[in-house]
């Protein structure tokens, strides 16, 4: 596995031991099996122990894990007949954000999601999942298509944030995000959003105004990265750990704050260990929410989304 997480050391150690025993020809089959079974049990205990107590910083590491399933992985595992649609018709095709039509349980839907790369070459092409204005304007075209042909939208969020670069600013990153927010607010078709990895600020929100917002168990969602927050408020990026605590960015925190609707359980030891399992769990959850929203009239779908975001915020009066 690429770049193992330091807190996973006890897990990796047992996993290696199991592999080692399996290679030992000196042991009889039954001895080996007994040994492996007992180690397997220990492994599950250790995994459970570690993964039930992840700190916010550790969750962020899981959310950023290079083997974590990305949008195209989810599309492959949960949808059929995906046809990618490209380009914003203004400037270029931003590959940090993928869009397309697909079938979900045999019904046509629009799929939109950030796309990270698994190696340097891919990441250059995908810009580490940081979309430019072109990406958000491509998504706007898709919102419009879905609305006109009355198809639900499913979005997958996994980005460090919208790209902070010269060209992105010149071409109106702020306007692109703002316009996306307004367009999502206007939709009368069902929209389900899943935060699958990192929900990084405005760049995440720009495709995240679902009638339902779900989060994978170890995903995160916040207004700024802990590193960015630490360098502004503590004037020192090495305080990222404390910023991660303070920002309340875990799925569990956000459920408590009533910003999200549901937490989707990950397989023990994180989604990166079993793509099929997480895709199965997620597909079940999306299908249930989609059915609920589909039962509403278009006007109600619009109002439900409006009220949902209208009521966010905590203040006294």
């Amino acid at each position: 596995m690429a770049a193992p997480l330091d807190f996973e050391a006890p897990i990796i150690e047992i996993e290696n031991k199991i592999a080692e025993i399996k290679n030992m020809s000196s042991l009889s089959d039954s001895d080996m099996q007994r040994e492996v079974d007992s180690l397997q049990k220990r492994l599950e205990r250790v995994k459970a122990n570690i993964y039930q107590r992840l700190t916010p910083s550790q969750k962020l590491m899981v959310a950023r894990h290079p083997e974590r399933p990305y949008t195209l992985d989810f599309i492959k595992l949960m949808f059929t007949d995906f046809l990618e649609l490209h380009g914003d018709r203004l400037f270029r095709d931003d590959q940090a954000l993928v869009c397309g039509i697909a079938n979900f349980n045999d019904s046509p839907v629009m799929v939109i999601g950030h796309q990270k790369g698994r190696n340097t070459k891919e990441n250059i092409r995908r810009n580490f999942g940081m979309a430019s204005p072109e990406g958000y304007r491509k998504a706007q075209r898709m919102f419009d298509l879905a609305e006109r042909f009355n198809r639900p939208i499913i979005t997958f969020v996994d980005t460090p944030g919208a790209y902070p670069g010269i060209e992105a600013e010149e071409r109106g990153q702020a306007e692109a995000i703002a316009k996306s927010l307004m367009m999502m607010a206007e939709l009368t078709v069902p929209m389900i959003t899943v935060i699958t990895g990192e929900g990084g600020s405005g760049g995440a929100l720009a495709i995240a105004m679902g009638n339902r917002v779900l989060m994978l168990e170890h995903s995160t969602y916040s207004v700024i990265s802990p590193e960015g927050c630490a360098s502004i408020l503590w004037k020192d990026a090495s305080y990222a750990g404390r910023a991660a605590e303070a920002l309340k960015l875990t799925a569990q925190d956000l459920k408590e704050l009533e910003v999200i609707d549901e937490i989707v359980n990950e397989p023990l030891g994180g989604a990166h260990r079993n793509h099929h399992q997480i895709a199965h769990n997620l597909k079940t959850a999306i299908a249930r929410h989609l059915k609920e929203i589909k039962s509403l009239a278009p006007k109600q779908i619009f109002e439900q989304r409006y009220d949902k975001f209208r009521n966010m915020g905590v203040f006294a009066e």
Binding site: G165, A185, F315, A316, E317
Partner: protein
């Protein structure tokens, strides 16, 4: 009161303020470095008479430059911030709020209400930068949303004046959600056939720019204001090079097609009137 009495009173007032005035009679411009009479700057809408550098002014002052005198009726003055995240960095969030309330004599960073422009009713509000850098938390988001919803109810156009460091980090995700909330309210305003004029002043950044502020039907910018999504420092760190002069300033945005007008403070009322006339009233 007769004219003599009036003058006498004025003279007494002036002499009692003399010490005060001596200190405040001159101001140095941070744009060109020239020194001007305070009064001359004030008469020029708090802009340098030599280079037109716009000195920072309060949100209420900006509103006053635009509306008919004494027509402003403020909404929702009682909304206050809480601390849902129990946020603490070097200071506790409630302590930061308390200090800002005391310093600015307002409950949070937004002042909004109804007013008249040439006798016609509009809803207008602005972000106060002096209050925690004009950051948008739950209160700012709620007040903007109510300003828009009230405009829909009363069939009025909306003018927003932005001046903000962006999101209020101490409210993390709740702050982010204000971007969605304010943008959704403007979507409704648009559906009702009502207009939104967005005036961007120095600085307008981050989550404020990337939500309601860039959703003006007409977008105006104060000259030389910093207007951006990602701040210059963040970009410099990302690309590891210095940014060109004038990057992300109003004139740069105008050139790149991101704002409609760069408008000097003394023209705000006039330009806004023209746009409102185009929107029409009923």
């Amino acid at each position: 009161m007769g004219i003599t009495d009036f003058l006498l009173e004025k003279i007494t007032k002036v002499s009692s303020q003399k010490k005060d005035m001596k200190e405040n009679i001159w101001s140095k411009c941070s744009g060109c470095g020239e020194i001007s009479y305070r009064q001359e700057i004030e008469d020029n809408y708090q802009c340098c008479p030599k280079c037109d550098f716009h000195f920072p002014v309060s949100a209420m002052q900006k509103i006053d430059y635009i509306i008919d005198p004494h027509t402003f009726v403020e909404f929702d003055t009682g909304i206050r911030s809480l601390d849902p995240l129990k946020f603490k960095d070097s200071k506790k969030y409630p302590d930061r709020i308390k200090a800002a309330v005391k310093k600015m004599d307002m409950n949070d960073a937004f002042v909004g209400g109804m007013a008249k422009i040439n006798g016609r009713e509009i809803n207008i509000g602005g972000i106060e930068f002096g209050f925690l850098g004009g950051s948008m938390g739950s209160v700012v988001g709620e007040k903007i949303t109510r300003l828009v919803e009230n405009a829909i109810k009363n069939h009025r156009h909306v003018i927003t004046i932005s001046c903000s460091g962006g999101a209020r980090m101490q409210e993390s995700i709740l702050s982010l959600m204000q971007m969605a909330k304010t943008s959704a309210a403007l979507a409704k305003l648009r559906m009702e056939g009502l207009g939104h004029i967005s005036l961007l002043t120095d600085p307008t950044t981050g989550g404020v720019t990337a939500s309601y502020a860039m959703l003006g039907d007409v977008i105006m910018a104060e000259p030389k204001a910093l207007i951006c999504f990602a701040g210059p420092r963040v970009i410099e760190q990302t690309i590891r090079q210095k940014l060109p002069e004038g990057f992300q300033r109003s004139e740069f945005l105008l050139e790149h097609g991101m704002v409609d007008i760069v408008s000097h403070r003394k023209r705000w009322r006039k330009d806004i009137t023209r746009v409102l006339d185009f929107f029409g009233y009923n």
